[in-house]
Amino acid sequence: MLELTLQALFSGLLAGGYYATVAVGLALVFGTMRVINLAHGELVLLAAYVAYAAETNYGVNPVMAIPVALVIVGTASAIVYALLSRINQDREINSLILTFGLGIILTNAILSIWAADIHSTSDPWFQDSMVIADTLFAMNAEVAAFIGGLVLMAGVWWWLNHSWQGRAVRALSSNRAAATLMGVNPRKIEILSFLIAALLATFAGFAIYTGKTVFPALGHVLTVKAFIITVLAGMGSIPGVLIGAIMIGVIESLTVTYLSASLQELAGMILFLVVLFVSPSGLFGGGRALAR
């Protein structure tokens, strides 16, 4: 019993790692542009399918396809930005409609190219399991994704806090006019945040393809999950998002272990609603995306 619980907690922790990489991208874009990119999960999906295509069509290790995926996902993300920045009326609602539509287009493009089948890597190394502390099992891919995700998020965190451009991201999300008065060109910073979101999305896509399974409808699920995590964390900070993501991962994994796999998505949603009910500004308050 205890072992089962520990294993569920451990698996949840690992899942939380890559959920967080998805959510940080969403939060970063929200911070600079005040826009929820509802196509964000589809960018992750796109990366996963690039990995799949590389492996099945070209026979290369998915890891080797990361640079190509970065270019493709980065371009897609830049197109989302270019379209969003053309909206000049009723931005809140129109940006939701636009990105929702773009997500559907991406999902259907993937559906028509690769069909609705479920895929995962055929590379045995990723699927091999390792045993930690004699009792905890994990696939190599899960551990690699968790560690890689932490390193990536630490990098983004450092960048936000210690680089000129990163500081400008925080300034822009705090006060747009004031940031402009510091010589910040908001468009440059916005596009930068979309590109970093694309970097995180690409990483997450590869993590999912190697450690889980992919199918066209997944994009939408990931967007909702990232949104829930971001709101749960109160949009306060990268560490906050990470904690929120791990909570979702753990709740899901406990649900799958003790109740039923079919209740997995519901469990996260219930946690989300309970937290919002108790603390409307999220777990860590704030409200300014990634301001610290």
Binding site: A168, A171, A178, L181, M182, G183, R288, A291
Partner: protein, 240 residues
Amino acid sequence: MTNALDILTLRAGYGAINVLWDVSLSVETGKTTVIVGPNGAGKTTLLRAIMGLVPATAGDIRVDGQSRKAMKTWDRVADGVVMIPEGRMIFPDMTVEDNLMMGAFPPGCRRDWKRNKAMVMDMFPRLAERRGQIAGTLSGGEAQMLAIGRGLMEQPRVCLIDEPSLGLAPVVVDEIFRILARLRAEGLTILLVEQNTSRALKIADHVYLMQSGKVVLSERGDRVDLERLHALYFAHETAA
């Protein structure tokens, strides 16, 4: 010698609402120019138009004789036109130090940011004590000092300062004006907007009075008669 800043028959406003009606004024290099005027006269709108935060619909804005009307705000900042805005607009979630570093964001200012920060810390010892503190927790006076320090980090050629004494306790107002006097003595070119007329006149090389989006008085600082200025000021207020 050309002026640091020339405003020529400027019109600007917010969409369909025009606020500035053919405003003309000049800011001499190395001098302190003061704009006074009642609430809603358009003083802040003028400064925002100079920065390009509101579009100029007619007239011109010249810095050192060259038109800047078509330039984006961030390019004007990089060009040395700096605004310390009304209400301070510091970044409340950042530390004091990070706020100052944002002031050094324009590429030309980054190289010397350490030296400039030392200069600012020397001018405002209170900021030095609180360098790691989250700026949102500063008192009003400290926040205003931070806003001024951040503006100085931008290495201004012309510094627009909007109501720096607003909402501050009298002792703190004294301190702010001491700093403004020091900056003036150091030869910084300043365009100061103030409602505290008597204090502002003491450091003014030139004074403009604005009312209802127009300049109604232009006078050398040492020639302004405070009583006459106040008479004009309040004549408008009672008439309106």
